[in-house]
C-alpha cells in the first residue's frame, strides 16, 4: 500500500493539526505565491549590496590583475583558495542530504533536501568564481580544458590534481544542477496548475510539461535513486580531489595522506553548519516550523558533533604524525602553526571546530534554535580559519628562511570574500521567492506515516501500546511547533 505504518516510537517529521495534502501545498507556496514580506526585502537589499561589492571587487581584479590582492612571492595562495575550498566544502552538505540520506532512507531529508541542494549550487558558483579570478588572465580559463596543441601549448597534464579539479568541480556542479532541477519538476507543475496568466506560462515552460502520471513517477523515482547513487561517490571524490591539490605537493603541512578523509569530514561539517544557518532563519521567516521541525535541527546538530569530532581527531593526528615522522620541516610546519605568528588563527580554528561544537552533547543546547544558530556561525568561521591555516601557515615560512614573510590581505581580498557571501545570499533569497523551498511532493509522502497527526490518531484509536504511546508523547517535548499543553491532555 501507499502508506505503511511507521513505528510509533519514531519522532514525527511533520507536525501541526489538520494537515492535509492541500494544506502542505498552501503552506509551502506562501512565499512563492505572495508578495515578499519585509524580512525578505531587508535581507535581499543587504545581500544585493554585498553582491554589488562582489561584482566591483572581481571586476577590479580582472582589470588590474591578481597583483591587487595581498599575495606576495612567498604566499602565492591565500584568501582566494581559502575562499574556494570553504565554499566547495559548504556545498557538500546539500549533496550529502539529497544523495547519501536518500540511499540510507532517512526520511527526514525530504523537507530539507530542496534548499540544501540549492545551497550547494550557489556555493559551488561562489567557489568557481574564485577559481576563475585567481587565474590572473581569466579570459584564458579554457586553457584548463583538454584542447589541441594549436591553442599554443601541450595538452593539459592529466597527472595533475589541478586538472582533476577542473573535471571534478564542473561535473559536481552540473550533476547537482540536474539532480536539483529534476526534483523540482513536480513542484513547479504544482505552482503552474495553481497560477494564472503570465505566471502560469512561465512555470509551464519551467515544468517541462510534467503531468504526474504513473509512468512519469515510476521513472522519476528510479532516476532520483540512481542520481543519488552516483552523486554519493561524486561528492566524496570532489573534496578528495580538492585536498589532493595540496596533498600531492611537497610543501610541509600539505604533503599528508590524511588529507582526503579529513577534508571530506570538514566539508560535511561546514556544510551542515551552513544549512543550519540558512534553514533556522528560513523556517522562522517563512513559517515552516511544521515541516522543518526540532527533530531535523537536532539530527543536523548530531551530524555536526560527529563530523566536528572527526575533524578534531584529524587535527591531533596531524600533530602526532608530524612529531612521529621525525622530519624536521614537517615538525617545524606544525610547531609554527600552533605557536608561530599565526597562532591566533590556529587556535581560533581549534576552538570553533573542535571545542565549541562539543557542547551539542547537551540536549538542551542542541534542541535550542538560538544556540544552534550561533554555533552554526561559529563553525563556519572555524572552517574558514581551517583553510586559512592550512594554506597560509604552510606557505609563509617555506624551506628558505630569507623568504619568510607574513600575509596581509588587501581591500580587494576582503571585498571579494564579503561580496561572495552577498552573492550567495542574494541567490538563495531569490530561490526562496520563486521556487518552493521544501519539496512538496516528498513531504506529502510522509503525511500518512510520519506526521504527528497520523501518530496521534493511532494513539487515540488505541491501536498502540500504552507505554510506547507515552514514550512518543514524551519525545514531543523538545518540539517548538507543538504546544506542550496539548500533549499533556493527550497523555491523560
Amino acid at each position: 500500500m501507499s502508506s505503511h505504518h511507521e513505528s510509533i516510537l519514531r519522532e514525527p517529521l511533520v507536525t501541526g493539526e489538520n494537515i492535509t495534502y492541500s494544506k502542505v501545498t498552501e503552506d509551502i507556496l506562501v512565499p512563492v505565491e505572495n508578495k515578499p514580506n519585509k524580512a525578505w526585502w531587508i535581507g535581499f537589499i543587504v545581500s544585493a549590496i554585498g553582491a554589488g561589492l562582489w561584482v566591483f571587487a572581481v571586476s577590479w581584479t580582472f582589470w588590474f590583475g591578481v597583483g591587487e590582492w595581498g599575495l606576495n612571492k612567498t604566499v602565492g595562495w591565500a584568501w582566494d583558495i581559502t575562499g574556494f575550498v570553504w565554499w566547495v566544502g559548504i556545498g557538500h552538505a546539500g549533496t550529502l542530504i539529497s544523495a547519501v540520506l536518500l540511499l540510507f532512507r532517512q526520511n527526514w531529508r525530504n523537507s530539507i533536501n530542496r534548499s540544501a541542494e540549492a545551497m550547494t549550487i550557489f556555493a559551488v558558483i561562489c567557489a568557481a568564481t574564485y577559481i576563475i579570478s585567481h587565474m590572473g588572465r581569466p579570459w584564458m580559463f579554457y586553457w584548463a580544458l583538454p584542447l589541441p596543441n594549436q591553442f599554443g601549448s601541450l595538452w593539459v597534464n592529466f597527472n595533475s590534481p589541478l586538472v582533476w579539479d577542473v573535471f571534478a568541480i564542473s561535473t559536481y556542479f552540473s550533476v547537482s544542477l540536474v539532480f536539483w532541477y529534476t526534483g523540482l519538476l513536480p513542484d513547479i507543475a504544482t505552482i503552474r496548475d495553481r497560477a494564472t496568466g503570465l505566471r502560469r506560462r512561465i512555470y509551464s515552460i519551467l515544468s517541462f510539461g510534467w503531468n504526474g502520471s504513473v509512468k512519469t513517477w515510476q521513472r522519476f523515482e528510479l532516476v532520483s535513486l540512481i542520481l543519488a547513487g552516483v552523486s554519493t561517490p561524486l561528492v566524496l571524490s570532489v573534496h578528495t580531489i580538492v585536498s589532493m591539490d595540496f596533498a600531492t605537493s611537497l610543501v610541509p603541512g600539505w604533503h599528508t595522506t590524511i588529507f582526503p578523509p579529513y577534508f571530506v569530514a570538514g566539508a560535511i561539517f561546514s556544510g551542515f553548519a551552513m544549512v543550519q544557518t540558512l534553514l533556522l532563519v528560513t523556517r522562522k521567516v517563512m513559517n515552516f516550523e511544521n515541516y522543518i521541525t526540532m527533530f531535523h535541527i537536532e539530527s543536523m546538530n548530531k551530524i555536526i558533533i560527529l563530523t566536528g569530532s572527526i575533524v578534531g581527531v584529524a587535527y591531533l593526528t596531524e600533530l602526532f604524525i608530524a612529531w612521529y615522522s621525525g622530519a624536521e620541516y614537517e615538525q617545524y610546519a606544525f610547531l609554527n602553526r600552533v605557536s608561530g605568528p599565526y597562532w591566533w588563527a590556529y587556535w581560533t580554528m581549534m576552538t570553533c571546530n573542535v571545542f565549541t561544537p562539543q557542547i551539542f552533547w547537551i540536549k538542551k543546547i542542541r534542541t535550542s534554535v538560538a544556540w544552534s544558530w550561533i554555533l552554526s556561525i561559529v563553525v563556519n568561521i572555524g572552517m574558514w580559519f581551517e583553510r586559512f591555516v592550512i594554506i597560509v601557515t604552510s606557505l609563509h615560512r617555506d624551506y628558505l628562511p630569507s623568504s619568510w614573510v607574513m600575509f596581509y590581505p588587501s581591500w580587494v581580498d576582503v571585498c571579494v570574500f564579503i561580496g561572495s557571501i552577498g552573492l550567495f545570499f542574494t541567490l538563495f533569497l531569490l530561490f526562496l521567492r520563486v521556487l518552493p523551498a521544501i519539496a512538496m511532493a516528498e513531504v506529502k509522502l510522509l503525511l500518512k506515516s510520519s506526521s504527528d497527526q497520523a501518530k496521534r490518531k493511532l494513539i487515540r484509536e488505541g491501536s498502540v501500546d500504552k507505554g510506547e504511546a507515552d514514550y512518543y508523547l514524551g519525545s514531543l517535548e523538545k518540539y517548538d511547533s507543538i504546544s506542550p499543553r496539548k500533549v499533556e491532555y493527550e497523555k491523560v
Binding site: 500500500m1 502508506s3 583538454p146 586538472v163 540536474v178 503531468n211 540512481i226 571524490s237
Partner: protein
C-alpha cells in the same frame, strides 16, 4: 453516443485510490492512467506496468563515459604527445582514475536524465497534458477512457462506492490547453 471522452475519479487519499483501482479492475473497467501529486508505491504492479529500464540506460551511459575518458587521456598523453616526466611511464594509469570516474558520473547522469526527459516527453515549453489541475496538488485522479468503456453510470457508481469524492465527465482530454 455522448461526446464524453474521459471519466475522472477524484480521490482524496492514496489508500482510497488503490481501493478504487481494485474495484474498477474487478468490474473489468480498463484504466487509462492515474495522475497523482506524489509517487504511489505499489501502483505499478497493480496496473501491470513493467519495471523501468532506465537503470540499464544509466549503466551504458556510465560505461561510455569511462571509455571516453580513458581513450581521451591515452590519446593525448600517451599517443599524441608523450611527455617525459622524470622518466616515469607515460601510461600512468592511477593518475587517470579520477577523471575516468568523473566522466563516468557525468555521462551517466546526463545520459540517464536526458533519456528520461525524452521517453516521458518532458521538455522546456512543452504544453502540459494535464487532465485535472488538482492532480498536481491534492487529488489522486484515475482517468478512464470513456470511448473504450461503456456503461458510464456503472463506472460512476464503482468510483463513488470506492470513496471517490468527485467524478468528472470530461469532453476534452486535456484541460491545460485553455
Amino acid at each position: 453516443m455522448s461526446n464524453i471522452k474521459y471519466i475522472l475519479g477524484h480521490f482524496e487519499d492514496p489508500d482510497d485510490l488503490m481501493h478504487g483501482i481494485d474495484k474498477l479492475q474487478e468490474g473489468n473497467v480498463s484504466i487509462y492512467d492515474v495522475y497523482t501529486p506524489m509517487p504511489i508505491h505499489g501502483i505499478e504492479d497493480k496496473l501491470g506496468i513493467r519495471r523501468s529500464r532506465l537503470g540499464r540506460v544509466a549503466f551504458c551511459f556510465g560505461i561510455t563515459g569511462t571509455v571516453t575518458a580513458i581513450s581521451m587521456i591515452w590519446y593525448m598523453l600517451v599517443y599524441d604527445w608523450p611527455m617525459n616526466i622524470g622518466g616515469k611511464p607515460h601510461f600512468a594509469f592511477p593518475d587517470f582514475v579520477p577523471i575516468m570516474f568523473e566522466l563516468t558520473v557525468l555521462f551517466c547522469a546526463f545520459g540517464m536524465v536526458g533519456t528520461y526527459f525524452f521517453v516521458n516527453h518532458l521538455a522546456p515549453g512543452r504544453a502540459p497534458r494535464v487532465m485535472d489541475l488538482r492532480a498536481t496538488n491534492d487529488r489522486f485522479v484515475v482517468a478512464i477512457d470513456a470511448k473504450e468503456n461503456p456503461y458510464h453510470d456503472k463506472i460512476d457508481n464503482i468510483l463513488k462506492e470506492a470513496g471517490a469524492v468527485e467524478v468528472k465527465h470530461n469532453e476534452r482530454k486535456y484541460v491545460s490547453y485553455e
